[in-house]
């Protein structure tokens, strides 16, 4: 068996590797004939129309990925594999990186255009699933699920921590300015800026509205389609939060400050938790109506969770519904990185800006936390580390804070406290997105 496997295998590999090796067509011919002879052995009599069969193989070969692969495709596939590797090996946001990584591979399998295969070809399955991204339908559904799984008690117990979520938004607007200076036009810059919000769905939602390759500017130019790069950048850096934030924390926060223990949050009544989503929904969307799809669904989901009467709906929203949307969103966003469209100078710039935005956002949060401490007395003082959680990237940044605090004092559990700025960061980014949208939409 080994023997035949080998003979057959070597020959067949030849068929596909040939062009790579640059062998001439003769070797091709005898490949065919010989492999056919093997087929013969199998069950069919193929003695006739050998030539045509060869024609057929050649005809078919032009459809294979081997014939159409570009270095860009191979590079992107490699990146996809790296995403998956990071997700599995280092447990960085695997629920995001693995679907996206798989999507990147799927999106970069070389194909012949016009066959309804690619994600950008109308009528292809991927294109139908991508619809939810292009139209910004998936993000609000994910926010519904987030709302149904988020407990805002720490925020209700300690409202002033909301300001940390606001402070981190400096990252959004700074990146926005940076993008402008790098020559992106306003809507594109706005979409890029939101990467600093460290919130995937918000980033996808805003970019699908501003940098969707459809809108037309006053001067007649069409905005670029940056949904792919922005989403990938946002999710990549969200996954890398455990790498990005710790050094900044050690840089900006003194040993003593890191040791600060915060007094346990007060107990929050169920009634408060029921009122919160309603009030927050009305207030935030009154201020930033363009964020309605995001904030409306977020607080609606939270109401389902806290009402105490709709547990079954909340449970579906935070499990199966969000899972389904996450799968579809992840794989399509990944697939949207088709090399010929994705590998551009813009994408590189966006990745650079993204890195900076996370740094600025983190610093903003940390510094504003120190600033707040100036006004806080005694055991009301907050541990400045939790400022870093203001970037959202829920819940990783909160867990990073938790871990960092433990390094300086193994008995200092900040997770509960860090959740407050963390969810505030989500709200803050959504509001910021709404503001940008109302200015540039």
């Amino acid at each position: 068996m080994k023997k035949i496997l080998l003979i057959f295998g070597v020959l067949s590999l030849l068929i596909f590797i040939r062009p790579a090796l640059g062998l001439n067509s003769n070797s091709g011919t005898n490949t065919i004939s010989s492999s056919v002879s093997v087929n013969q052995a199998n069950q069919v009599d193929e003695t006739d129309s050998l030539g045509e069969a060869f024609e057929g193989v050649k005809h078919f070969y032009n459809y294979t990925g081997f014939a159409n692969a570009t270095s860009g495709n191979l590079l992107m596939i490699l990146i996809g594999i790296v995403f998956i590797y990071l997700g599995i090996k280092f447990d960085y946001e695997p629920l995001l990186l693995i679907p996206i990584g798989a999507g990147v591979i799927i999106g970069n399998i070389p194909f012949v255009a016009g066959n309804q295969t690619g994600i950008y070809e109308t009528g292809s399955v991927l294109n139908y699933l991508y619809f939810g991204v292009v139209k910004g339908v998936y993000p609000p559904l994910i926010f519904l699920g987030i709302g149904a799984m988020t407990d805002f008690s720490s925020l209700i117990a300690n409202p002033k921590l909301m300001l940390l979520g606001a402070a981190a938004q400096i990252g959004v607007f700074a990146t926005f300015m940076g993008a402008l200076y790098l020559g992106f036009n306003l809507p594109e810059a706005g979409a890029i800026g939101i990467i600093g919000g460290a919130d995937g769905p918000t980033a996808i939602f805003l970019s699908s509205k501003l940098a969707n390759g459809v809108n037309v500017l006053a001067d007649g130019t069409v905005v670029k389609n940056l949904i792919g790069p922005i989403a990938i950048a946002a999710y990549s850096y969200m996954a890398l939060v455990p790498v990005i934030q710790p050094p900044l924390m050690r840089l900006l926060i003194s040993k003593e400050d890191r040791k600060i223990k915060m007094k346990p949050p007060r107990a929050v009544t169920q009634k408060e938790k029921m009122i919160f989503p309603v009030v927050a929904l009305i207030l935030t969307t009154f201020i930033s109506p363009s964020a309605l799809p995001l904030l409306g669904m977020l607080f609606f989901g939270n109401l389902l969770k806290e009402s105490g009467r709709t547990e079954r709906l909340a449970d579906t929203a935070r499990t199966k519904l969000i899972d389904i949307v996450t799968i579809l969103l992840g794989v399509t966003v990944g697939a949207s990185t088709q090399a010929d469209i994705f590998i551009t100078k813009d994408s590189m710039l966006i990745f650079g800006l993204g890195a900076i935005s996370f740094v600025i956002a983190t610093m903003g949060g940390l510094l504003f936390a120190k600033f707040m401490n100036l006004f806080l007395k005694g055991d009301n003082k907050i541990n400045p580390l939790i400022g870093a959680a203001g970037v959202s990237a829920v819940p990783d940044s909160a867990r990073v804070v938790h871990t960092e605090a433990l390094k300086s004092d193994p008995s200092n559990y900040l997770l509960m406290h860090a959740m407050a700025p963390n969810v505030a960061g989500v709200i803050g980014s959504a509001i910021a997105a709404g503001i940008i949208l109302s200015f540039l939409g």
Binding site: I156, L161, L186, A267, Q270, K271, A280, I287, G308, L415
Partner: protein
């Protein structure tokens, strides 16, 4: 949707958005925090006055929550979670193994997993 510029210069408008944006983000989150620091207790008080303590159901729902959910517990949970997170991977693999041994063949439309699914 076409975009009509407010200002001739992109950069200068950028700054406007920068400042306005930050201002508004802060304002909104601040007003939210103020609302919950001062507004909410007031609302609850008024509500109580109106309903003259007649609201059984909701109070029931919340009561136990209050009792148990003191700060100490919160801290305790923090600790628990911490320990928990460290052990997690072993759990993960354990679960994996079980799954693997439980159905190493279950493919689509099998009568088998119709049941597995129930188990």
């Amino acid at each position: 949707m076409t975009y009509i510029p407010l200002f001739t210069d992109q950069i200068s408008e950028g700054y406007v958005i920068l400042f306005t944006g930050l201002l508004i983000v802060f304002t909104s989150l601040l007003s939210l925090s103020l609302l919950f620091k001062y507004g909410l207790p007031l609302m609850l008080y008024i509500y109580k006055v109106i309903t003259k303590r007649k609201d059984k159901k909701i109070s029931e729902i919340k009561v136990e929550a209050d009792r148990n959910f003191t700060g100490e517990i919160a801290a305790a949970i923090g600790a628990a979670v911490h320990l928990y997170l460290d052990e997690q991977h072993d759990h993960e693999s354990a679960i994996l193994t079980i799954k693997q041994v439980k159905k190493p063949y279950s493919p689509w439309s099998s009568k088998i997993y119709g049941t597995q699914n129930r188990l």
